[in-house]
Structures are given as structure tokens and as C-alpha cells.
Symmetry: C5
């Protein structure tokens, strides 16, 4: 249920039937990070009850210290996924203006 | 005892007889967050003794790390409620000038 | 041994015989916060060995996270007391220039 | 397997066959810090699963508080190694433009 | 082995035979803070393995939260000693340019 989209050197996975992260449930967010290669960290997103709306509000420090996950994966999750999903989302928003 | 007011895409609840958050007691703050769909987090506001005056002084990081609540709900509580209540409050203040 | 001075909407207490907070001992600081209505938090100032000189060096985050006190009172202690005492103190300093 | 390069007053070690830190594995990062004189702290980088890509994303505060290592060595690891590796890496990148 | 130098209202102690803090060992740093009236906190500097080079890299927040010392003394240690030693050190550096 995930397709890949290449953005520069970063691969962002998206849920086929529900592309816009703003509509993702907590389970969708966890599935996303499992598919992206972070099954262990996906659990932490679930524990902290992070759905798509919350994901789009996360800042670097929230990912690094608010999830109680190891620093190495946290740095990649923020830079390659959270940040990129937010940039894509807010670009799409602007495209409607 | 709560009415809803639509502000853009955000619903802010207000206590009918006591609209101005600056006058809310600790119990009013807890009632507000229970009505807003965060009964568990409402308890944390009560534990930290946050009345309306303190609520209007809270910054993003205070909500995210000072209440010991889960990150997902914390992000929404700040963005959709604390921040919006503060903006509304300080706009109202300016309207009197 | 405390008198009150009204500053805008904020009441700042001052120790009669020793008005300048820079000269307050750890016990004076604790007495100040007890008189201001924060007897429990006054204890935390004492535990952290905060005298007048240290009090004048405290920033928002130091009050909120460095004293292990509840967030609601901490927000008011900073905004209504620590910040105001510092502004008054540094204004007085400028008056001498 | 390490050679030394002098950069101002700072010595940066590099892995001979794999000079670009972006390609370092978690084991390479640990070897680097062991060779640089921080064998104990190398273990913390390994525990936090920090490979070369994550290393290049680390900020001062991540090194000081995210690795649970002592403050003295942490300050030197950031200033003399992490920061310098990042500067060298991003300079090399620019050289290709 | 310490002499005193008056800088404005601040007294900075310096180790006679080894004035430049950049050359201080962990033991020298501890001796400095013991002589400056902070014997208990000197122990924390030693525990965190802070030598002169690390001392010159410390920021306000590192002193306040990274040493696990009480807030009152920490505020004074930073303002009257760490900050002043750094200013003196970097002024001396500039004098050579």
C-alpha cells in the first residue's frame, strides 16, 4: 500500500489511497515509518499517538528528544522523512493558491 | 457550559459565563480541555496548577515538555488551542486600544 | 517586613530595610516568595541556594525547569516577580548613569 | 587504517579507504572516535547507532546531551571533530559546484 | 598558587605558574573553583572531566544543566567565572593579532 516518490536524493513513501499526510491516522504514520525502514521507531510514533496532523507539526527537537528513540535513526527520520513530508505538504498547499 | 467559535479551521471552545481566559480558574482550564476532547491531558493541566493567566503565558515548549503528556496530543493542544486562545486574547486586548 | 509597590498590574513586594534585591540573602529570597503567595515554591528557591544576585541572573527557562516546581506557579513567578524585579533593578541602575 | 590531516590547530583523522564520512558505517564512526582518543565515547556513538550520515547531521546540543557522555569530552568531540568533519565535508561538496 | 585580578566588580582567580586557562588540567580547573569559593561544584567539574580547553567552550546552559549542580551557585559560576575567563582569554588572543 506504499508507493515511492524520489525527491532529490530522498525517497518519500506515500500511502496510495490517502496521499496527503494531513489525513493519516496514527496507524498510517506507524505504517509509513515501518515501510521506510524504521519499524522500531514506528512503535514510538504510535506510543506518542502521532497522527498525520501532529506529524506535520513536529520540529527537529521533538523528533530527537520527544520520542525516546536512538539519536542516529532520529536524525535520519527528521531529515529524510518528517522535514521532507512537511516541505512537500506545504508546497502542495501553496500550489492551490 | 461551553460554546464553540470557529476560527479559520480551528474550533475554540469558550466558557459561556466567563469568556475571557484570563479569568479562568484551574478547574475552568481543565473543563476547557476535557470539552475540547483531551480529558486525559486536562488532568495534567490541573496537576501543574495552570489557570487562565498561566495558560496565556505558555509557550510551545512548555506544553510539549512541561506537562508530561504524549507528544501527539501535546502538538495539537498547543497549535489548535493554547496558541489560538492567546491570539484571540491579545487581539481582543488590542481592540480596546 | 515587606511593603508592596504597584507596577502596572503587577505587585512587587520589597524587603523594607534592604530594598535592592542584589543584596538579598537566600533567606530574603525565600521570604519574598512566601510573602508573594508562593510558600511552597519559596522552598525550592532555598534548596537551589538562590540569593538576590542569582535571582537577578535567572532566565525564563531557569525558573520553569531548574526549580522542579509546578508549571502554573512557575509561569507566574517568572512573569510577575523575577522579570519585574530584574526590570526594576536594571532601570534603577540606569537612573544612576 | 587512519591517516591524520592537520586543519589549523585541529587534527582530523580519516579512514584511508573511505575518506568521505557520508559513507561511514556505525563501526567506522566508532573506530574514528577510538582513534581520536575517545574510546569510551565511541561506544556511545555505537549505542545510539550513529553512522556517517547521522554524524553529519549532529548539532552541538545533540553531542552534549543526546549521547549521555561526560561534558568535558563531549565539548571537545563536538568542537574538534564533529564540527570540523562537517565543515570539511560541506567544503568538499562546494568544490564540485 | 592563586592570585586575584579585579575585572570590574568581578574577581577572577588565576593559577600563578600557568595563567592561560587553555593549559589548565582537570585538576587545575577544580582547584580554581575551590579557590573561588565553590568546593562542592569543583567536584562536578572534575566528574565531568572538564579541563581548561573544555571550560573555554562551555555555554551558559552547559554550566546550568550539564553539571548537575544547584541553580544558585551555577548562575554565579557562569556569570562571574566561566564567562569572564572566556572574555579575558579571547581578548588576550586578539591582542596578539
Amino acid at each position: 500500500t506504499f508507493s515511492q516518490k524520489i525527491l532529490g536524493s530522498t525517497t518519500v513513501f506515500s500511502i496510495d489511497n490517502n496521499q496527503n499526510p494531513v489525513d493519516w491516522t496514527v496507524a498510517d504514520v506507524a505504517s509509513y515509518f515501518t515501510a521506510a525502514g524504521f519499524p522500531e521507531q514506528a512503535l514510538a510514533f504510535r506510543t506518542q499517538e502521532i497522527d498525520g496532523k501532529s506529524l506535520l507539526l513536529m520540529q527537529r527537537n521533538d523528533v530527537l528528544t520527544g520520542l525516546s528513540i536512538r539519536l542516529g535513526p532520529a536524525l535520519k527520520i527528521y531529515e529524510r522523512h518528517v522535514k521532507v513530508l512537511q516541505q512537500t505538504h506545504f508546497q502542495d498547499d501553496e500550489a492551490f493558491c
